[in-house]
């Protein structure tokens, strides 16, 4: 079963990390990813730019283009993983490992995938 692990955190708090803290967190996350990749459990991984770079299109009769994310929230969607797991317990286990690597505030939302098209972008 494929799961998306959606990473939510306060982008202001993440933006307040020092470069050393950021590098340390990214190194530990990379180690978790390597472990998953070795077991062929890791799909696409994405890190998003801050919501200041976001644009939202509201569907209407005449769609409305708005600057910013679709909703102003205390925590923002900062990135996601796609992982292949035997079940929810394993997906939660992966989220725990990610949380250990990045013990800031925030949350991981674990959502089973209904469909994944790998697409044809070069990586």
């Amino acid at each position: 079963m494929l799961y998306a692990i959606l990473c939510y955190d306060s982008e202001a708090a993440v933006g307040a990390w020092s470069k050393e803290e950021e590098d340390a967190v990214m190194d530990r996350l990379a180690a978790v990813q390597r472990g998953l990749a070795e077991r062929s459990k890791l799909g696409p991984v994405a890190r998003l730019m801050p919501t200041t770079a976001a644009t939202t299109l509201r569907k209407r009769d005449e769609p409305l283009v708005i600057d910013g994310p679709f909703a102003e929230t205390k925590e923002q969607l900062l990135g996601f993983y796609v992982v292949d797991c035997d079940g929810l317990d394993e997906a939660i286990g992966i989220a725990r490992a990610l949380a250990q690597a990045n013990p800031s505030q925030g949350a991981y939302e674990i959502r089973p995938l209904l469909l994944l098209r790998p697409g044809n972008l070069p990586t």
């Binding site: 306060s10 202001a12 708090a13 993440v14 933006g15 307040a16 990390w17 470069k19 803290e21 340390a24 967190v25 730019m49 801050p50 919501t51 200041t52 770079a53 644009t55 283009v65 708005i66 600057d67 910013g68 102003e72 205390k74 990045n102 013990p103 800031s104 505030q105």
Partner: protein
């Protein structure tokens, strides 16, 4: 990351909103700062034990307000402060309530006011920057003193004097109307650019110590953009800072001297910052409301897009500088434009463009540097030598003088031979 590190990050992220709200409440900067400080001390105790609050800023505002009110009440009576648990109990319910009351518009004006009081026109630029770093970013006096290469007590005095000036000037606490808000926004944007330039203009040993100012300015610009998500000039400002900061790894050589844009190793530029800057320019352009920050960002964007210096789209840069000249007429802008014109229409056209600037730029190093290079390209060696000599006399750094001397040496050696290309300003956008 330890508990301490994430709490630290959460506190500094919440700081502008919390201090801004406390300032509105107490109408006194020192009281607001002390209240926030107290709330932070309590957060350091309570958060590791109870876990992070749902809304750190609301927590800090609530606790800070209670602590400060308590202080004021007890000051006369000399009673000890209550234990933390007394102040923090029932906080969860209260926190939810206060978070609901603090609507977005309120906190937007709180943060804008906090930024704006640092931009008082009576304050010299350096004081504005120091004040913003202290009050909004929450850097310690020691950290700011280090960045400005002055002693801690001197910086303490500077900040105290700046605060006194602000207290005397009085700050408008009522919700600003649209024109005031736009005015505040422009002043704050200019102040953020000042913070950035304090960090960016440094070279030599000061560069590493001042680099955090660039990071801080970008943080402030993003903060401002989160508050005013639809403002193309704030997008432009943020993009400009990101694109300039992207070059930081290539801007200084091993001796800490500035490397000119066209000589930089572009492989060292930070591709992530460039991508974000270009994305913001893209967003801003959709508004079709150009302004000086957007145009400067667009110029920086064209440099960033050129994988090699010779791929630079000088014709477009010329057009953008022409636009900037109309928005913000200044001899320095025209001088920059002339560098682009030299690339597209040749040195004679560029020289014609800068000759009228002579009276106003007679004390400006780059004017004589550019003028000398143009004359040299035109084969007017003697005049070029005079211009280069004037440039050296006005050089601000050893690197600037050394760069001009290269031209002079070549003149000496070759008579007037292989003319060098016109060089951009070292601080060029």
């Amino acid at each position: 990351m330890s508990d301490a590190a994430w709490i630290d990050a959460a506190l500094s992220a919440a700081r502008p909103q919390a201090v801004g709200a406390l300032l509105r409440h107490f109408r006194d900067l020192d009281t607001a700062e002390e209240a926030f400080q107290e709330a932070c001390l309590r957060a350091l105790k309570a958060w590791p034990r109870n876990g992070p609050p749902r809304d750190p800023a609301a927590w800090l505002i609530f606790v800070g307000r209670n602590v400060a009110i308590d202080h004021i009440r007890r000051r006369g009576r000399q009673e000890p402060l209550p234990e933390d648990d007394e102040l923090v109990s029932d906080l969860d319910d209260a926190e939810t309530a206060i978070a609901e009351r603090l609507d977005d518009a309120d906190y937007r004006d709180d943060i804008l006011r906090l930024l704006f009081i640092c931009c008082h026109p009576d304050l010299p630029a350096a004081h504005q920057v120091a004040l913003a770093l202290r009050i909004v970013s929450g850097l310690s006096v020691a950290q700011i003193a280090r960045a400005f290469l002055v002693g801690e007590s001197a910086m303490e005095q500077r900040i105290t004097r700046a605060k006194n000036r602000i207290a005397k000037a009085g700050v408008a606490f009522e919700t600003p109307g649209a024109p005031e808000r736009a005015e505040r926004l422009a002043a704050v944007a200019a102040m953020i650019y000042l913070v950035f330039n304090e960090g960016y203009s440094a070279s030599g040993e000061a560069a590493a110590r001042r680099r955090p100012l660039c990071d801080e300015a970008i943080r402030l610009a993003r903060l401002l953009l989160r508050l005013f998500r639809g403002e193309p000039e704030v997008m432009g400002l943020t993009a400009l800072l990101l694109l300039q900061h992207a070059r930081t790894p290539a801007r200084l050589d091993a001796n800490g001297e500035i490397v000119l844009l066209e000589d930089q190793d572009r492989g060292l530029w930070d591709g992530r910052l460039i991508a974000e800057g270009l994305a913001l320019i893209d967003k801003a352009m959709r508004h079709a409301r150009p302004g000086p920050y957007q145009v400067q960002a667009a110029i920086a964007g064209l440099h960033a897009r050129a994988a090699r210096a010779e791929h630079t789209d000088w014709a477009q840069i010329d057009r953008l500088y022409a636009m900037l000249e109309r928005m913000q007429p200044s001899p320095v802008v025209t001088l920059n434009r002339a560098v682009a014109v030299a690339k597209t229409r040749g040195p004679a056209a560029a020289l014609d463009m800068i000759e009228p600037l002579a009276p106003r730029l007679s004390g400006y190093f780059h004017f004589f540097g550019v003028r000398g290079a143009l004359l040299l390209q035109l084969g007017r060696g003697e005049e070029a030598r005079v211009a280069f000599d004037q440039a050296i006399a006005l050089a601000n750094t050893a690197a600037e003088a050394a760069h001009i001397r290269l031209h002079l040496d070549r003149l000496q050696k070759d008579g007037v031979a292989t003319p060098p290309a016109t060089r951009g300003r070292s601080t060029g956008i």
